[in-house]
């Protein structure tokens, strides 16, 4: 009964739910990139990069056999292994870049605050004079 239902579902709808979910998510993410490009918050190069990335992901999800070619190039057997390997390396690298970038931004902010303070906000305090006794 159980097998029958699954077979029935697969004959009507050949895509597994996870593939559909992921494709919808990738399309959504890509649409965000397009919206940002339209709002001129992203340039053509960035749009091309994100479009390539998300569309490539959809291709990989829908036609996983394609990744086997890539795996063979890398000396691996299964496409999935190659994808996981590349994804982990890419994630580590992007976290590292973000960390460096945020440190740099932090230092830039300090430099701005410092320069503003030294140019505009150096004040000499004045001790209150004790009341001078007259006569």
């Amino acid at each position: 009964m159980h097998d029958y239902l699954i077979n029935l579902w697969q004959s009507i709808w050949p895509l597994s739910p996870i593939k559909i979910l992921f494709s919808v998510f990738a399309l959504f993410a890509w649409s965000r990139a397009v919206l940002r490009f339209r709002a001129k918050q992203m340039n053509q190069k960035e749009l091309a990069f994100w479009s390539f990335l998300w569309l490539a992901m959809i291709v990989v999800v829908l036609i996983p056999e394609k990744t086997t070619t890539l795996a063979e190039l890398l000396g691996m057997e299964r496409g999935f292994d190659a994808m996981t390997f590349i994804a982990i390396i890419a994630l580590f690298y992007s976290v590292y870049r973000l960390y460096i970038k945020s440190n740099e931004v932090d230092q830039e902010i300090t430099r701005i605050v410092r320069e503003t303070a030294l140019r505009l906000d150096v004040k000499k305090g004045q001790a209150k004079r004790s009341k001078r006794k007259t006569k």
């Binding site: 960390y99 460096i100 440190n103 740099e104 932090d106 230092q107 902010i109 300090t110 605050v113 410092r114 503003t116 303070a117 030294l118 906000d121 150096v122 004040k123 000499k124 305090g125 004045q126 001790a127 209150k128």
Partner: protein, 229 residues
């Protein structure tokens, strides 16, 4: 010789006035003395309180942390031609009389950097957990920068004109205490330690470095060491 006493202050309205008032007015061998308070974006009355005294107040409009404030102080001192710089905590944990033994080796040209250490003499009332934390940071400082110090987290330090010119600080936060040792090592500065005492009150303990912060600092320091960023 011209002496600058640098007090980084963030929300120190309770203690700052007393700290400024108790600073010695005269040191032998010093002709000109200036107290510089770097108000690090305080949201209390730190700035106003400092301005009531005969000090120079440099104010950050954003809080940048201890390292940011010290860096600003160093830059001010570089631009105004001082011979000696002393850093002094605003929370009242240092004895004002300890400034003299810290600047003396610099006046006598025996060192470029003098670190006031709370651990050379056994007097003092530092709690054991704080002692452990500092010891841990000493070991980390040694492992990363190859400089052994008995008090890597001390706030009372003196710098010669040469050291003031050479030292550039990148850290914004508390890891600056250890970054000084990186500068001492890479710029080949001569460092010695001088014994100081510390006054621990519940106020200054709350202000100081918490042990858990040490973990975050460790990550930052390793990143500085490995990637130079």
């Amino acid at each position: 010789m011209r002496l600058a006493i640098l007090i980084p202050a963030y929300n120190e309205e309770k203690m700052l006035a007393r700290v400024i008032q108790t600073l010695p007015k005269k040191f032998s061998g010093i002709t000109h003395q200036e107290v510089i308070v770097v108000n690090d974006g305080s949201i209390d009355a730190t700035r106003e309180i400092a301005l009531k005294h005969r000090v120079t107040v440099v104010s950050h409009w954003l809080n940048r942390g201890l390292g940011g404030a010290l860096g600003t102080g160093f830059e001010y001192v570089r631009r105004h031609n001082f011979d000696i710089l002393v850093t002094f905590d605003a929370d009242g944990q240092h004895h004002p009389e300890d400034i003299d033994p810290v600047i003396r080796p610099i006046i006598k040209k025996k060192a470029d950097v003098v670190v006031g250490s709370r651990f050379i003499t056994k007097k003092g009332n530092m709690p054991w957990y704080r002692r452990m934390g500092t010891f841990g940071m000493n070991i980390i400082t040694y492992a990363l920068f190859w400089v052994w110090t008995t008090d890597s987290q001390s706030g009372l330090r003196a710098f010669s004109r040469h050291a003031i010119r050479e030292i550039t600080l990148k850290s914004n936060k508390m890891e600056v205490s250890s970054e000084f040792f990186n500068e001492i090592q890479t710029k080949n500065l001569k460092m010695i330690e001088a014994p100081i005492r510390s006054i621990y009150t519940s106020y200054s303990l709350n202000k100081g470095l918490k042990n858990i912060e040490g973990v975050r600092i460790l990550f930052k320091l390793i990143s500085h060491r490995l990637f130079g960023k």
